[in-house]
């Protein structure tokens, strides 16, 4: 058993980026839907690019092959008040960070989700659908 590591909390510079998984259901063809932004309370989990590659972020998904990875500029988030980004490392994920300040008022949240979408960029596309996962045709 390895002891859990308490990673130090660091300041995330404005010119850095954060990564987020985007499940297949949040895409129409190549178009990312604003539905991908799903706050828990007033925050949303992301990974800081200093400690995570897009592939690392995808691999943390329960089913990695069902996920793309999007990237958001920290400066873009911070210039969208009242949002902020903080490093909140977890023992098993040093990159873990949070977008904070997501509004709980629905009108404002609807606006914020479109603004976040505006500067999101897909950096790891969805893997092609694997036909081998489909049910085998019945034998006649």
């Amino acid at each position: 058993m390895v002891d859990a590591v308490d990673w130090p909390v660091e300041d995330i510079p404005d010119d850095n980026h954060v990564l987020m998984r985007a499940h297949r259901v949040f895409f129409r063809e190549d178009v990312l839907l604003p539905s991908v932004f799903r706050p828990h309370g007033d925050s949303m989990s992301v990974d800081w690019t200093r400690y995570s590659t897009p592939q690392d972020t995808r691999n943390r998904a329960p089913i990695p092959d069902q996920n793309a990875v999007i990237r958001l500029p920290v400066i873009g988030i911070r210039k969208t008040p009242p949002l902020d980004v903080r490093h909140t490392p977890e023992p098993e994920n040093r990159a873990h960070s949070e977008v904070l300040g997501l509004p709980t008022e629905r009108e404002d949240l609807t606006e914020i989700r479109i603004l976040l979408l505006g500067f999101s960029e897909t950096v790891l596309a969805l893997p092609p659908v694997d036909d081998r996962l489909q049910p085998a045709p019945k034998q006649i």
């Binding site: 539905s35 828990h40 629905r106 949240l109 606006e111 479109i114």
Partner: protein
């Protein structure tokens, strides 16, 4: 928060039967047949396909929403379908304009998102999980013009209709 322009309501009376729709959308087959009677007024196949895709997505919620916390009800789905039908039919009946079909997605906290991404504008409408809450919207033309607010999704809303006609 960015500054948001006031969006004028259309200067016309809404037909009463559309402003207070008596649509029973508790069953998708029923809804589909009601919809069929006005098939020329909307991009029916596209809209049906989008709704079917949403139903499949919601049925697979346990697969994609690994972080949990969201539950989608049939009532929210039915109100979404009813909203789309009322707006589409009204737009056709009054203006002869075919409504653009939104991309429909599972929104946060049991809500449903209707998202239009057009070359000249983008609009997000969020249908609430609770029937007593208003729908919320935000849209912009990629420039200085923005709309933001709330409305009763059971009624035709001039600002939204006008936006869909751009």
């Amino acid at each position: 928060m960015q500054e948001v322009m006031e969006w004028p309501l259309l200067d016309c009376d809404f037909p009463e039967e559309l402003a207070e729709p008596e649509l029973d959308a508790t069953n998708w087959e029923e809804t589909s047949s009601q919809f069929s009677s006005r098939a020329e007024s909307v991009a029916r196949e596209e809209l049906e396909a989008e709704i079917e895709r949403l139903i499949q997505t919601l049925n697979l919620q346990h697969v994609w929403d690994s972080e949990g916390g969201n539950a989608y009800t049939e009532d929210t789905l039915n109100r979404t379908i009813a909203f789309l039908m009322v707006q589409s039919d009204w737009l056709w009946d009054v203006y002869g304009v075919k409504a653009p079909v939104p991309m429909i997605g599972p929104g946060p906290n049991g809500t449903i998102d209707l998202y239009w991404k057009q070359p000249a504008w983008e609009l997000l409408i969020n249908i609430p999980a609770g029937s007593s809450e208003p729908a919320t919207f935000y849209g912009h033309n990629y420039g200085s013009q923005k709309i933001k607010g709330s409305f009763d999704p059971d009624k035709v809303t001039g600002g939204i209709i006008e936006w869909l006609m751009l």
